[in-house]
């Protein structure tokens, strides 16, 4: 351990400012640890304890808007990190066989634990060029069509499907509209509801609207502790209902987009705790957590007869909503 903070990048979250001072002190002290006659061990330990206590305190009362910021943290593990982390022998499959290959959606065969499966995931990209190519995780119709084509392949070969959701929303552009963004998502919703293989889905970061749902019709849905899932991004909601992007924080509150809110309203089935201070502080712990949930869910789902599985999936969706 060289720093008090597992994340080594330069991005700062505003609400974590109080921690930075402590982190700097720790780093400073540690750099003197080789100096003769100076015992800094006790001091560092104390600072670390303070740091942990403060981190716990900050994250214990993290408001929805700050959750959104954690979900968008550049150091937060993305789908590619999870794939590198727990998918063995990943065999990527490209292209929608209609128009192109959207890098904002990754699909491919792979092994998770003992399960051969198909992985479908949103890709935000890491370096700026890749992020631009992926439109920052906003998929085009080609992405959704690629996902569906490969999922049908999985169905044909009896492979379960694992989807990792991380998108601010489907891309709102001229080409996307002209090539049928709405139709592509609609078709995925209908077809995923009747695929005759188990589907598990996890929201690992952002679960924005139809763009998220387009790969998230599943038998089991999980959500990472600091992910968000909602009908629209807080900024989009603020722009429409408050007529001002400035109101994003209020919109985030109103949209009830956190994991605990989604659990409360049964729009997801399970919440996955993140390491203290968020997944970006300890990506490998987050990877392990998600892998365990996926393997366990697949093990359980594989016990069902396919007809029952598909019926249960329908019944699960059928219960969604609240009327008076």
């Amino acid at each position: 351990m060289t720093t008090a903070n597992g994340y080594t990048g330069t991005y700062e979250l505003e609400f974590e400012r109080p921690l930075l001072q402590l982190e700097r002190q720790i780093v400073e002290l540690e750099s003197h640890s080789g100096d003769a006659g100076v015992d800094i061990g006790t001091e560092v330990r104390k600072l670390r304890q303070n740091h942990t206590a403060m981190l716990k305190k900050i994250y214990a009362k993290l408001g929805p808007w700050n959750v959104v910021k954690v979900a968008r943290h550049p150091g937060r593990p993305q789908a590619t990190d999870y794939i590198h982390g727990f998918v063995k022998d990943f065999c990527e499959l490209h292209g929608d066989r209609h128009f192109g290959d959207d890098p904002a959606v990754i699909t491919g065969f792979g092994r998770i634990g003992s399960h051969k499966c198909l992985i479908v995931a949103h890709n935000k990209g890491k370096e700026i060029r890749e992020r631009v190519a992926c439109h920052f995780g906003c998929a085009h119709p080609e992405g959704y069509r690629k996902a569906l084509a490969k999922m049908k392949l999985a169905e044909k070969f009896g492979l379960p499907i694992v989807t990792l959701v991380d998108t601010p929303g489907a891309y709102p552009g001229i080409g996307a509209e002209e090539r049928g963004q709405a139709q592509a998502i609609a078709l995925n919703l209908r077809e995923m509801s009747r695929l005759r293989v188990p589907i598990v889905s996890a929201i690992i970061g952002e679960g924005g609207s139809g763009g998220a749902l387009g790969i998230a019709v599943a038998d089991r849905m999980a959500m990472m502790q600091y992910a968000w899932y909602s009908v629209i991004s807080p900024e989009g909601c603020a722009a429409i209902l408050w007529k001002s992007g400035e109101a994003a924080e209020q919109a985030a509150e109103s949209l009830k987009l956190t994991a605990s809110d989604n659990l409360k309203h049964n729009t997801v089935d399970e919440g996955l705790d993140e390491p203290l201070g968020g997944a970006h502080r300890n990506p490998s712990a987050a990877v392990e957590k998600l892998e365990r949930w996926i393997t366990q869910s697949l093990r359980e789902l594989k016990r069902f007869k396919i007809d029952n599985l598909v019926n249960n999936r329908y019944e699960r969706l059928r219960r969604m909503g609240q009327c008076g």
């Binding site: 439109h135 601010p168 709405a182 209908r190 139809g210 109103s254 949209l255 969604m320 008076g324």
Partner: protein, 281 residues
Amino acid sequence: MAQVPSRSWQEVVDTGKRGDVPEGLWTRCPQCEAMVYRKNVEQNLYVCPECDYHHRIGADERVKQLCDPESFEPMWSDLAPVDALGFVDLKPYKDRLIAEQKKTGHRDAVLCGKGFIKGRGVVLVSMDSRFMMGSMGSVVGEKVTRAIELATETDQPLVVVSCSGGARMQESALSLMQMSKTSAALARLDESGGLFISVLSDPTTGGVTASFAMLGDVIMAEPKALIGFAGPRVIANTVRQELPEGFQRSEHVLEKGFIDRIVHRKDLRNEIGRVIDYAGK
């Protein structure tokens, strides 16, 4: 930043003020600006006699226009929306609902039931843009799903007239789930060999387009209706360029291959009947 997806019903409300027929003896057509005798517009199915502009109409008027006289029986009208999330924007959702219910006389934004079109029995769904821009929350999703299930069980053709700004933000993820719920029900209708005619009217956007509206076996649209996923303003802000002429209008969407036919309001009954006959339903 490219992160504002769809459901910009407020955006459509703004243009909607233009589309509604105002009170008074005479009315100015928002498209050709001709002064037209109001009664003439009404008798012409709310289509401008001068330029064919299709005014927006409520669900009751739609049902009256489509169904054989006195043949429509509304169903599930008692289903009422609840404010499950305690949603507050500039106005609490609870208050919005009360105001909209008072204004329209309906509990939510969709009318469903059984009826006859040119003597053919159908399950009919008509969305109502007057109620929170026809947005889809739990009630709309539930009623549409029940209508799809009824059509599946009774092997009757399903006709859905869409008119919506998308999923309702005030019910957040619960609204989002209505997209997958309705689409899943349509998978079952499809498997049973049932017929689904989807009619798109101005506007059909957001989560409604990205679910049942785009899943019709046959998709018809009224002329010049706005049809899309993201709202035009959101797109213009994202791509920072001017949108092409006629972008996201029925004619453009047909040219791109996503709808089957553009149908004038006066021909809708005939066209629906014809497709039902071809499908042998």
